[in-house]
């Protein structure tokens, strides 16, 4: 009998908005895997990119307060969004290294800091805490024949000494997780390239160029679909895909799944519990073709 896994859960703003399906599939997957997930009470925005661009103290304080709130719930903190993960980890790292900044933030929050709790990305929980063997054992409908391009983006692995998720130059954690679910992964060149992130609003031209390179590379490697762990990457690859196809006069038709959606499929969850209808590039024809729906 293994000890039950329980986590506090920080969904972050995106998962309550454009990435609702990431939130839904995370909760459903964890329920199916019998992993406890309790939402941090009264959590708020981690500050994302704007906060640390404007004011480091603000960014650190927002994260520190959220970390303090997370202490109220038992278990390590589970984070789905790559940006929230990066900000919370960075705050832990910076405040741990700099007594001066720590003092400033303590003054701003008027409370001592709690930085010792573990912040974990969902990938870490699936690959290490649950373990690949137990994950494989929970698979009811293996993703046999599905060729997945695992896309890491920028923030999951970088900077390496802050996130400590996997090797920064050649990570394999996504591949290991989805291979445990029975899928085949492809070797491709743009796993770690930037998608343009939030330039999607201010300079969409940049994003279209960068996202096109990623889609092109995944297609060239023979992938059926892309798997991501970041709402912003998802937006740029999925929502912008039609537009990119128009600009470059190509056809990709690559569904972009959250990792929880694909693992959820393998565990046997239905499309309604994984929010597959929220995906812009319709995955259903592909899943039908591979006998996965």
């Amino acid at each position: 009998m293994t000890t039950p896994l329980n986590y506090s859960y920080y969904p972050g703003c995106s998962l309550h908005a454009s990435a609702g399906e990431y939130d839904l599939s995370t909760r459903e997957l964890f329920k199916a895997l019998k992993i406890g997930l309790t939402e941090v009470p009264d959590w708020f925005c981690c500050g994302a990119t704007p906060a640390h661009n404007v004011d480091e103290l603000l960014s650190l304080s927002l994260c520190a307060k959220n970390l303090e709130l997370a202490e109220q719930v038992e278990g390590d903190l589970a984070v789905a969004c790559a940006a929230c993960f990066s900000r919370l980890k960075t705050a832990q790292h910076v405040l741990g290294e700099s007594p001066v900044k720590r003092k400033q933030v303590e003054k701003a929050l008027d409370a001592p800091l709690h930085l010792d709790g573990n912040v974990k990305h969902l990938l870490d929980i699936l690959a290490r805490d649950l373990g690949l063997e137990r994950l494989a054992a929970a698979v009811n409908k293996p993703l046999t024949g599905l060729k997945v391009a695992c896309y890491y983006g920028c923030l999951l692995t970088r900077p390496t000494d802050v996130t400590n998720l996997d090797c920064v130059e050649a990570p394999t954690i996504m591949e290991r997780v989805i291979e445990s679910a029975g899928a085949t992964t492809v070797a491709w060149t743009h796993r770690l390239e930037c998608c343009g992130a939030n330039f999607t609003l201010s300079r969409p031209g940049v994003v279209i160029q960068l996202a096109n390179a990623i889609l092109d590379s995944a297609k060239a490697a023979g992938a059926d679909c892309i798997m991501v762990g970041c709402p912003l990457c998802h937006g740029n690859l999925d929502i912008r895909q039609k537009e990119i196809e128009g600009v470059y006069n190509v056809e990709y038709n690559l569904p972009v799944f959250y990792l929880t959606q694909l693992v959820g499929l393998a565990v046997g969850l239905g499309p309604d519990k994984l929010g597959l209808d929220a995906m812009i590039v319709n995955p259903m024809p592909l899943l039908k073709e591979k006998n996965l729906s």
């Binding site: 090797c167 130059e169 050649a170 060149t189 743009h190």
Partner: protein
């Protein structure tokens, strides 16, 4: 009763500005044992020294204290003067009232009081100094040179030309080292082989040089002037005396597809081989791991075809002991293999550059072999993957070097120049090709070096892009190089046919193990440490061992040859006398009290502590005690600080003297 003379120096105004030297002389003159004390403007000058000599004779002085600058500055000067006056030089001590007093204080009253105390301490110390005889050590006038690259070859030839015997030991089957692999050399573009191979032949033919190739250092014992070196001569499986170098064995060997290390694995060689046609000695060696005869017992073709009957499968490793007086270490460098992260190393790999995965991403040495007339392509620049001529080639500098976050913070020094050379060689051979270079800075300090680099841009049309490359990836048969041009502030992507990485220069594998055998120190990268970065750059801290070439730090050929000749000159200086004289400030063991714990032996950086048996008159062993070999002792005093029973002491720095100094305060 001592009759101590104290001489206070003004050092111009350096001391007298802050210290009342006349008062110091007056007050010190009253100390017990001081028979004479005076002050003078420049004690180190000729009249100052004469004053000292005269006083010794007239006042019949027994000891001397000179209160002046640091002993590092003028101790030798004054001890010589004392010796000239007929006193043992080690009865003279210096009290440092300049660096330790006048230069660091402002208040004259306080500084004067301190100066009196410093001199008073030295008066107490010198009282207990012993008359020390100069130590002499015999010298074996033969030298060992480890490493047969250009550094070792140059050092060996210089020493041998001076008439001294040289033992040259090389790990590989041939001498020549990396220089023999190079195509042309900067900044003159003369062919490396053309200037290297004659020197190799000179080594082979020199009557004073004994060459051991395919051999390694097994053990080093002894000390300066008197080393005993054990050399392991690995089994070559070919008798060097019988072999004529005809090469029939290599032609007939049925195993032909072994990657040749000399050609950076681009070319193939048989199982019985010489690394390259110009090898010295031109005697093949059997690679036993790949030879059918050694693997299965069958074949034996090379023995059958060998006319002189030189092939000998029964040959075994031999251990040879050679006595030598000096050792030159010239083990050279190797290029950082970025393909994988070395185990247990602080160096992190370079996965992002695809070296080892993308066949047309090669390192600088591989490019040298491609460009070399005697290389696997006969000097044509061709891609290893498909043999096509690359029309776009990208060179990336500083791979590993100057990258603290990757584990190496130093500059490899030669890469800027050899990359400039590579762009030229490429342009000479592929007229319609374009070379790009990603670089951080161009470091070209050297005679005619910057001109050479400018030429690669201005005349040979290389495009230099200031910025680094983030990663490479294969796209079809092209390699996409993603980098930044920081001069313009834009991202750059180049679709290249071939990429050449200027990987960092590192010490040879096993450099640390050899250093431990020799008892010499090395830095965190395993480069050997010189005794002084500026003033003793070719000597090790360990007496009698000298450094030449890139084993001490990244170096180009001119610097290597200069250092090799300098090391040779140091060896000749050592051999110029029949006996070595050295300062007798060494540790001595009080054998009656020594319990033989050998804590001193463990801490001795010089390997000077030996074990000595004490026997009674019947020859029965009473105990084993420590013995400090005065020829090896460096006089550092670490043993004295370590000895739990206080039975080893450094002359001039005994516990008794230190206590006396403290009591004088």
């Amino acid at each position: 009763m001592s009759r101590i003379g104290v001489f206070i120096c003004h050092c111009g105004e350096n001391i007298s500005r802050t210290v009342d030297v006349e008062r110091v002389a007056r007050e010190v003159g009253l100390l017990p044992g001081v028979a004479f004390s005076t002050d003078y403007k420049y004690m180190c000058s000729d009249p100052g020294q004469n004053l000292l000599k005269k006083a010794i004779q007239e006042q019949k002085l027994s000891h001397v204290v000179v209160a002046a600058c640091s002993p590092r500055m003028h101790e030798r000067t004054f001890r010589k003067a004392v010796e000239a006056a007929g006193l043992n030089p080690f009865l003279c001590e210096m009290a440092n009232i300049r660096e330790h007093c006048s230069w660091v204080h402002e208040n004259k009253e306080e500084a004067t009081v301190k100066a009196v105390e410093i001199v008073g301490m030295m008066v107490e110390r010198v009282k207990k100094n012993r008359v020390l005889p100069t130590i002499t050590v015999p010298v074996t006038k033969r030298s060992l040179v480890i490493g047969g690259g250009i550094a070792g070859i140059q050092a060996a030839l210089d020493i041998a030309d001076a008439g001294h015997e040289v033992i040259l030991v090389e790990r590989e089957p041939s001498i020549g080292g990396h220089m023999a692999q190079l195509s042309e050399t900067f900044p003159t573009l003369d062919c490396s082989q053309c200037i290297m191979t004659p020197k190799m032949v000179d080594v082979a033919n020199h009557p004073k040089i004994r060459l051991y190739t395919y051999s390694e250092i097994e053990l080093v014992e002894g000390y300066i002037g008197n080393f005993q070196v054990t050399i392991r001569k690995k089994a070559r499986s070919v008798d060097e005396d019988k072999c004529t170098g005809c090469g029939v064995c290599m032609e007939k060997c049925p195993i032909r597809k072994i990657p040749n290390k000399f050609d950076c694995n681009l070319g193939m060689r048989p199982a019985i081989y010489v690394p390259f046609p110009q090898a010295v000695p031109n005697t093949p060696v059997i690679d036993r791991e790949n030879c059918t005869k050694f693997k299965t017992g069958k074949c034996g073709l090379c023995q059958k075809v060998c006319g002189p009957g030189a092939v000998d499968y029964e040959q075994e490793d031999r251990l040879i002991v050679e006595p030598v007086g000096a050792i030159v270490v010239a083990t050279g460098f190797d290029l950082y293999n970025i393909t994988e992260k070395p185990k247990g190393s602080m160096i992190k790999g370079y996965g992002e550059f695809g070296h080892g995965k993308i066949p047309d991403v090669i390192d600088g040495m591989t490019f040298e072999r491609l460009a070399s007339a005697s290389g696997p392509t006969g000097g044509k620049i061709l891609r290893p993957s498909d043999g096509k001529e690359p029309k776009q080639i990208v060179f990336i500098q500083c791979i590993g070097s100057r990258a603290r976050e990757k584990g190496i913070s130093y500059c490899s020094k030669v890469c800027c120049m050899y990359t400039a050379k590579h762009t030229m060689l490429y342009h000479h051979k592929v007229h319609d090709g374009q070379a790009y270079v990603f670089f951080m800075d161009a470091r070209t300090p050297g005679k005619a070096y910057d001109e050479f680099w400018r030429r690669s841009i201005e005349e040979e049309e290389a495009v230099y892009i200031r910025g680094m490359v983030s990663r490479l990836y294969q796209k079809g048969d092209k390699i996409v190089v993603m980098g930044s041009d920081i001069a313009v502030g834009v991202q750059v992507e180049i679709e290249a046919d071939m990429v050449v990485l200027a990987t960092a220069v590192q010490p040879q594998a096993g450099a640390d193990a050899l250093a431990q055998k020799l008892g010499i120190s090395y830095d965190k990268y395993n480069f050997y440490s010189e005794a002084h970065a500026k003033l003793r750059p070719v000597e090790c801290a360990t007496a009698g061992i000298y450094l030449a070439g890139a084993c001490q730090g990244p170096k180009d050929i001119p610097d290597t040859v200069s250092q090799a000749s300098a090391a040779a000159a140091k060896v000749m200086t050592l051999f110029a006398k029949d006996k070595l004289e050295r300062e007798p400030i060494v540790a001595r063991v009080r054998e009656a009290g020594c319990v033989g714990c050998f804590a001193c032996k463990k801490v001795c950086a010089y390997g000077a502590v030996e074990e000595k048996e004490i026997r009674d008159r019947q020859g029965n062993l009473i105990k084993v005690v420590a013995y400090v070999n005065p020829g090896v002792c460096g006089g550092c005093g670490t043993c004295q600080a370590t000895c739990p029973s206080k039975c080893v002491e450094l002359d001039g720095y005994t516990d008794e003297q230190i206590v006396a100094m403290i009591e004088a305060l």
